[in-house]
């Protein structure tokens, strides 16, 4: 019987495994989200300018709410659009 090291696969058996998602604010200790920073907030919206759900971004509830309010403030100040097309 071949040992684990001797078996060779044609395609990578690890392919398709989900990357373990984490909250980037908790991990890197970011406490404040600046609503004036469009480049940072673009990570959390999709190409239509809509907010991405927490299950896609991996944020914890506390920070997802803060991100949402920052994006809404940025939209009020025309730093981010309300509706867009091919934003990214």
């Amino acid at each position: 019987m071949a040992t684990k090291d001797e078996i060779k696969f044609l395609s990578n058996p690890n392919i398709g495994k989900q990357q373990k998602k984490y909250c980037r604010f908790k991990k890197f200790g970011l406490k404040h989200i600046d609503y004036k920073d469009a480049d940072f907030l673009i990570q959390f919206i999709n190409e239509q300018g809509k907010l991405l759900p927490r299950r896609l971004t991996g944020n914890s509830l506390k920070y997802q709410r803060r991100v949402a309010s920052s994006v809404k403030r940025a939209r009020h100040l025309a730093i981010l659009p309300f509706v867009a097309d091919l934003l990214k």
Partner: protein, 145 residues
């Protein structure tokens, strides 16, 4: 001490002096009310994400200030609303993390990734001298085996 931040957009069609004087009036108003101005950040002319009042660009200003009470914020916002040169404004209360973030940003600690020190130039490769076999191996007459 409450730390607050007001961001407003000034009409870009005004001349540069008028834009500056508009911002200056609010700085003075805050100082008259007894607030200490921490920083006046003129972000400058920026394109808007959507047209406001048929304009597509605006001059952004952000004034960070600290005050004992927040009683004058109502007056400030009323003046901002009435001023025809200001298109949008937003007043935000900053918590201690917000204050620290702004401070670090002013000191340059937050920003794009810091470039690592440039690598030393790779050691110059000098090819070894071509292999010259020692003389005794080179036979004058080679035997065919």
């Amino acid at each position: 001490m409450r730390h607050l931040e007001v961001t407003f957009i000034v009409d870009p069609v005004l001349s540069g002096d008028e834009v500056k004087s508009t911002a200056q009036t609010y700085v003075e108003m805050l100082q008259n009310e007894g607030a200490t101005i921490v920083h006046v950040n003129e972000i400058g002319l920026r394109p808007l994400a959507y047209p406001i009042n048929k304009r597509s660009t605006g001059v952004y200003y952000c004034i960070e200030f600290a005050a004992e009470t927040g009683t004058f914020i109502g007056k400030l916002e009323l003046a901002l609303k009435r001023d025809e040169r200001i298109m949008r404004f937003l007043t935000v209360k900053l918590d201690k993390f917000g204050v620290k973030y702004n401070e670090d940003k002013r000191n340059g600690k937050i920003g794009k990734k810091v470039h690592k020190a440039p690598k030393e130039p790779a050691p110059v490769y000098t090819p070894k001298a071509a292999y010259v076999p020692p003389v005794d191996i080179i036979a004058d007459d080679l035997e065919i085996i």
